[in-house]
């Protein structure tokens, strides 16, 4: 079972040294290999086990309490104009800016 650990690490924003890459790859592949014993079970027609609730039991659309702006920004390292301030040029995926 092959894993592209470099790719997965990049998606998780974890930087690995070449040494770590060499060490982790067989370890991770080994874990998946042993878990793959599950593939031996025939699950045709068996639905995944997951809790179900009815639509009528879902939360009613009523608005409630919020944090204050001060509370929201309490743990922000930097703040400006009531917003969380993040340094650095931002690349990559942005849904809406």
């Amino acid at each position: 079972m092959k894993i592209d650990v470099k790719h997965i690490a990049k998606l998780s924003r974890i930087s690995l040294t070449d040494e770590e890459l060499k060490k982790f790859t067989p370890q991770m592949e080994g874990i998946l290999e042993s878990a793959s014993v599950l593939q031996e079970v025939n699950t045709d027609g068996v639905k995944p086990m997951k809790g179900h609730i009815k639509l009528e039991e879902v939360r009613e659309d009523i608005s409630g309490e919020c944090l204050t702006q001060e509370e929201v920004l309490k743990n922000a390292k930097y703040k400006e104009a009531g917003c969380v301030k993040v340094y650095g040029k931002v690349f990559g995926e942005n849904q809406e800016s």
Partner: protein, 503 residues
């Protein structure tokens, strides 16, 4: 594209529309949604802030609105709702993943009929949450780049509507977007105001050589050895008209590139409204790996047939159906029907007016009158005021009375419009005015008698007219109009005078 290019290339468009739905609270927490122009970070809680340990609790109304959109667009509705996590990193995504739907959207395989009769196929409609608002800046003192994040918008409910790639022109894309917005507004699913970010349109556009591709099972496939040109995604479109403009621009740009012998690369571009161009943002060599996984913190939500029927009751007659009905039942023109049904409020105004008028005239005539008065005088006033016709302060019942009185010849069209304007500008009571004019007309007696009276009383003018002075007739008409308090039809007066003077 010029004719040469339109003969060579076909345009293929798929449109993705995101709509913020009208709920009081957010998608996965109870923070209030009305954040527009509020202080930053004042509509936030640990859940939408993505703090460790916070758990999402789905909003029932949001899900109902997604189902409602699906029912209004002829979709199949799933009987189980599964949420998935979509992972990526960006400052506006506090959890590092967005709770969305990947494998099993709530709605699928629907369609919307656009003005040219085509049914634009909808691939899917799914439920997800909005991200925070981030703005990018450069620090004056240090030159460092930074981002400011406001989490008020984070986790507001969004529905995403994705078409199959079967839209074939920029105009059709704009039409489709307009129809979706109408449906959203008609059913109170969303105010869908693009300027407020409540509705966002992202077209995916490609151009392919004619005859070298086919549309099969909702996909674009090459024929033979032809290599398909990749598609380009355009973001940051801020208005419905820009949907058409941005697509037209992009089609021009891509065809120019191809004609120059260049290869089109799959990419994302941003619409620059000020410059009227799209600007490169990033290449998309491969599909993004979002590491989708089932959302473990939310159970499966079962939708019963009863749930669907209950939600279906919220569907009202939508614009497409109104247009057909107005045209079929009442011979209203397609143009007028389209304009009148463009908003729910104007359609309701028209239908109420028609109903009131039908107390005094037949169905078709009442509809015709209602349509003419709305399309003419009312829209003229509405445009001047910059308001919707339902908001200009003309009570439908009063207008009906006015129209009936006009049809009964109590006064002229000009007088009627004058009364209309005065009722708005000076608060003139239309019912009272009509009564006044009616009794004035009745007390004044028949036109023939007045004409005879004027002729008797103005011998000099009569003599002048009979001896060839044409202009004197104008004087006599004026005298008659005075005595009828301006209610008579000047042409009728003139003709009656001429007839009488011949004797």
């Amino acid at each position: 594209m010029n004719k040469e290019l339109t003969d060579k290339y076909d345009v293929i468009i798929g449109l993705e529309i995101h709509i913020q739905t009208n709920t009081k609270s957010k998608m996965f927490c109870s923070c209030p949604t009305g954040y527009f122009q509020k202080q930053p970070n004042t509509h936030v809680c640990p859940v939408c802030l993505g703090l460790p340990g916070a758990l999402p609790v789905p909003n029932k109304r949001a899900i109902e609105l997604c189902i409602l959109m699906g029912l209004a667009t002829n979709c199949n509705i799933a009987n189980e709702i599964y949420f998935d996590r979509k992972h990526y990193f960006y400052p506006d995504l506090p959890k590092g993943y967005q709770i969305s739907q990947y494998k099993d959207p709530i709605c699928s395989d629907g369609y919307v009929e656009i003005s040219n009769g085509q049914k634009v196929a909808i691939e899917r409609i799914h439920q997800e949450e909005d991200v925070a608002k981030s703005t990018h800046h450069t620090e004056g003192s240090t030159g460092k780049e930074y981002t400011l994040v406001d989490y008020n918008k984070s986790s507001v409910p969004l529905i995403e509507i994705v078409t199959k790639p079967n839209i074939t022109s920029a105009k059709d894309a704009k039409d489709y977007a307009t129809k979706i917005r109408q449906i959203a507004r008609y059913l109170n699913i969303s105010d869908a105001d693009m300027e407020k970010g409540q509705m966002r349109c992202e077209p995916n556009i490609s151009i392919q050589e004619k005859g070298k591709w086919e549309y099969k099972d909702g996909k674009i496939l090459p024929i033979g050895e032809y290599k398909l040109n990749p598609k380009v995604e355009v973001k940051n479109i801020g208005s419905i008209t820009a949907v058409e403009k941005a697509i037209e621009y992009e089609v021009e740009r891509m065809s120019a590139e191809l004609e120059d012998g260049e290869e089109i690369k799959q990419q994302t571009r941003g619409w620059n409204a000020a410059k009227g161009i799209t600007e490169f943002q990033r290449y998309k060599e491969s599909a993004d790996d979002y590491r989708y996984m089932p959302e473990p913190d939310i159970p499966v939500i079962d939708i019963s047939k009863e749930d669907i029927e209950r939600i279906r009751k919220e569907i009202v007659e939508l614009p497409n159906e109104k247009i057909k009905r107005y045209m079929q039942d009442w011979d209203i023109t397609e143009y007028a029907a389209d304009v009148i049904s463009s908003t729910k409020e104007s359609a309701e105004y028209f239908e109420k007016l028609q109903k009131k008028l039908s107390e005094s005239m037949n169905e078709k005539d009442s509809a015709k009158e209602a349509s003419n008065w709305i399309m003419g005088p009312l829209y003229a006033i509405a445009n001047k005021q910059g308001k919707e016709i339902a908001d200009i302060g003309v009570n439908g019942d009063d207008l009906a009375k006015l129209i009936v009185a006009f049809k009964e010849d109590v006064f002229t069209k000009n007088k009627a419009e004058e009364l209309l304007n005065q009722s708005i500008e000076k608060g003139l009571n239309i019912t009272d005015e009509i009564e006044k004019l009616k009794s004035a007309k009745e007390s004044v007696g028949s036109l023939d008698n007045i004409v005879k009276q004027v002729i008797d009383e103005n011998t000099q003018a009569v003599t002048d007219y009979k001896s060839g002075k044409e202009a004197s007739i104008g004087f006599l008409v004026g005298k008659v109009m005075q005595l009828t308090h301006g209610t008579a039809n000047p042409n009728d007066v003139r003709n009656t005078l001429i007839e009488e003077l011949k004797k």
